[in-house]
């Protein structure tokens, strides 16, 4: 179980998110939702210890402050939004970087087990045929999946995802989320994702934390959180009406 207790964090001493408390259970997908700029990604960065925070973040009764970088990487993997790639690494090379925390000794290379884990991770996102291709030649969606495979290769207890379905077509989005959901349930792991698509959130998440202007507006199951009035206050648009209207078009 991953618990956040009164976590506040931000940049340059200004707190972007304030006093966040929630818990993510094993075997669940937890989604953080909210309008642009509400602090979703910032909160995710705090859980990955990429930025400083106040309060406590506790994984299985161990405060993550006590982990060093490598131990943290074995427990929490973060997939951030894809950025520009300047250097010609192959898919295999990129995914194998996920095993960094497990390597012993400065000059050691990947063991046979490590290599198998990397290959399995590449297969799990459906990119085995492309494993020797340079990542600079991949499409945005394929690249996204490469980084997801790298997170799997870290073999973590928690995967944090910042917009994992960006750049992906609908089929890929569904496949990735189904895969994550299976991964969490079968291995009893935790997935915390920042997603914009409320339909996907509604379909795939067991638990939702809704933020607005850096504070929690609601947390619980989709049914409990996605209340018509609350959504309208947060998103400044009647989400339910809009979704139903869009749905009607398909009939």
């Amino acid at each position: 179980m991953l618990e956040l207790k009164n976590v506040s964090c931000g940049y340059d001493k200004v707190d972007v998110v304030r006093d966040i408390t929630f818990e993510a259970r094993r075997g669940e997908i937890l989604c953080i939702v909210g309008p642009n700029g509400c602090g979703k990604s910032t909160l995710l960065k705090a859980i990955g210890k990429l930025i400083e925070y106040s309060g406590n973040i506790v994984l299985d009764s161990i405060n993550i402050e006590n982990f060093n970088r490598k131990e943290l990487a074995k427990n929490i993997a973060l997939m951030t939004q894809t950025n520009n790639i300047y250097f010609p690494y192959t898919v295999y090379e990129t995914v194998s970087l996920g095993r960094y925390a497990y390597l012993k000794g400065v000059l050691s290379s990947l063991s046979k087990d490590d290599r198998n884990i990397v290959i399995e991770a590449i297969k799990s996102v459906g990119l085995f045929e492309l494993k020797d291709k340079q990542i600079s030649e991949l499409s945005g969606g394929q690249l996204q999946r490469v980084f997801l495979a790298r997170a799997f290769a870290q073999n973590p207890e928690v995967i944090l995802l910042d917009e994992p379905t960006n750049h992906l077509d609908l089929k890929c989005q569904v496949e990735i989320l189904e895969y994550l959901s299976c991964w969490a349930k079968e291995n009893n792991k935790i997935v915390i994702g920042v997603l914009h698509d409320l339909n996907l959130v509604n379909l795939f998440s067991e638990k939702i934390v809704m933020l607005s202007q850096g504070e929690i507006i609601g947390k619980g199951t989709p049914k409990e959180v996605f209340l018509e009035e609350d959504l309208e206050t947060v998103y400044k648009i009647n989400v339910k009406k809009f979704m139903l209207k869009a749905l009607k078009k398909w009939e």
Partner: protein, 358 residues
């Protein structure tokens, strides 16, 4: 749904990672090539000497095995005292600059960054400028005063930049490092320009030093260069994996377990040692540090385990060849090697880089 469960448990039995396996042969070939180029560099000059004679002279000097027939003491003096140290120095400088370039590019995740971005050359130039103007000389060091001062000033500059960056930005972000480097460089260059304007009679020696040259630099320079070269390269090689990860950016590096600020700082220090000593020994030779890593990455992939050793070989050989051209193309006068690196390098780089990307 991906059928990840049904995929047969194929094991990945290759003993080595695939691309590294392919590259072993290439590296062996390259080492042979290096040997050949060093011999060629030594053999060609005002008076040509055959490679066989050069080997004989080297063996004679190191193992005291008698010279083969037809080699007189004059040849020995030219080869042993002038050309061989010159070629070796060029190799060390070329290798250091290239490796340093590869390190800085990966650490700053910026393919256009180079050690000179970090102010090493401007710091060293300013030091040398002040030295020339003041006419100061460290007692007992004689002509080695210049490289010593150049090295110290280069290193101090890079430390100042790293320190400054860590004060203004605790996370040591790449943009802050690059911008601090630019601020320091511009400031130091401005001081140097002011000094040269005030002491116009010294302009020529300052400019000549800045253009870079390997002439009249004997074994004393090589002996100074080697320890820095070894320390710098060894330090860098320990961080090959981290450089791979840093190439993807700081956040990603942290999330796979790299202690980024410590490793970035260490890598910058090793890179400063390499560049600082190279600049101090030869002057500010640009371009090599920028293009050699690019060529190597293009030809051999981006893994630093491969990139770093091949950068030493490519950078070293490239510098030996450009120095050879610089001193033989208009005999008896010499061209500044810094100009030749760009003259040969730019078209060569364009050819290799853009040919493949069509």
């Amino acid at each position: 749904m991906y059928n990840y469960k049904e995929t047969p448990q194929t094991t990945y039995n290759n003993k080595k990672e695939p691309r590294i396996n392919q590259n072993n042969k290439a590296i062996l070939l390259l080492i042979l090539l290096t040997f050949l180029i060093i011999c060629l560099g030594t053999s060609i000059g005002g008076a040509n000497t055959s490679i066989k004679d050069i080997l004989s002279i080297i063996v004679y000097k190191i193992l005291a095995i008698p010279l083969s027939k037809g080699i007189d003491n004059n040849d020995v003096a030219i080869i042993w005292n002038l050309r061989l140290p010159r070629v070796l120095l060029a190799f060390i400088v070329g290798g250091s600059l290239s490796v340093s370039g590869a390190v800085v590019q990966s650490v700053l995740k910026n393919p256009l960054a180079s050690p000179y971005t970090l102010g090493v050359s401007s710091g060293a130039s300013l030091g040398i400028g002040l030295l020339i103007v003041s006419g100061f000389s460290i007692p007992f060091m004689g002509k080695l005063t210049m490289p010593i001062v150049g090295f110290l000033c280069g290193i101090v500059t890079i430390f100042a930049i790293v320190k400054f960056t860590s004060i203004v930005d605790k996370g040591m972000s790449n943009t802050t490092i690059i911008l601090s480097g630019m601020v320091f460089s511009l400031f130091f260059n401005a001081i140097l320009t002011t000094i040269t304007a005030l002491y116009s009679e010294d302009i020529k020696s300052i400019v000549l030093w800045q253009m870079g040259s390997f002439s009249m630099k004997g074994w004393s320079y090589v002996k100074i260069g080697i320890p820095f070269f070894i320390i710098g390269i060894t330090g860098v090689i320990f961080y090959c994996k981290e450089m791979d990860i840093l190439s993807f950016g700081e956040e990603q590096a942290k999330s796979v377990g790299v202690d980024t600020s410590r490793i970035k700082r260490n890598l910058l220090v090793f890179s400063a040692i390499l560049t600082g000593s190279a600049v101090a020994l030869s002057g500010t030779i640009g371009f090599v540090d920028l293009i050699v890593p690019h060529l190597v990455r293009r030809m051999f992939g981006a893994k630093h385990k491969i990139v770093i050793p091949i950068c030493i070989i490519f950078g070293g050989c490239f510098m030996v060849i450009t120095d050879l051209v610089a001193r033989t193309i208009i005999v008896p006068s010499e061209l500044p090697v810094g100009a030749i690196t760009a003259l040969i390098g730019a078209p060569f780089f364009a050819y290799i880089y853009f040919k493949k990307s069509k």
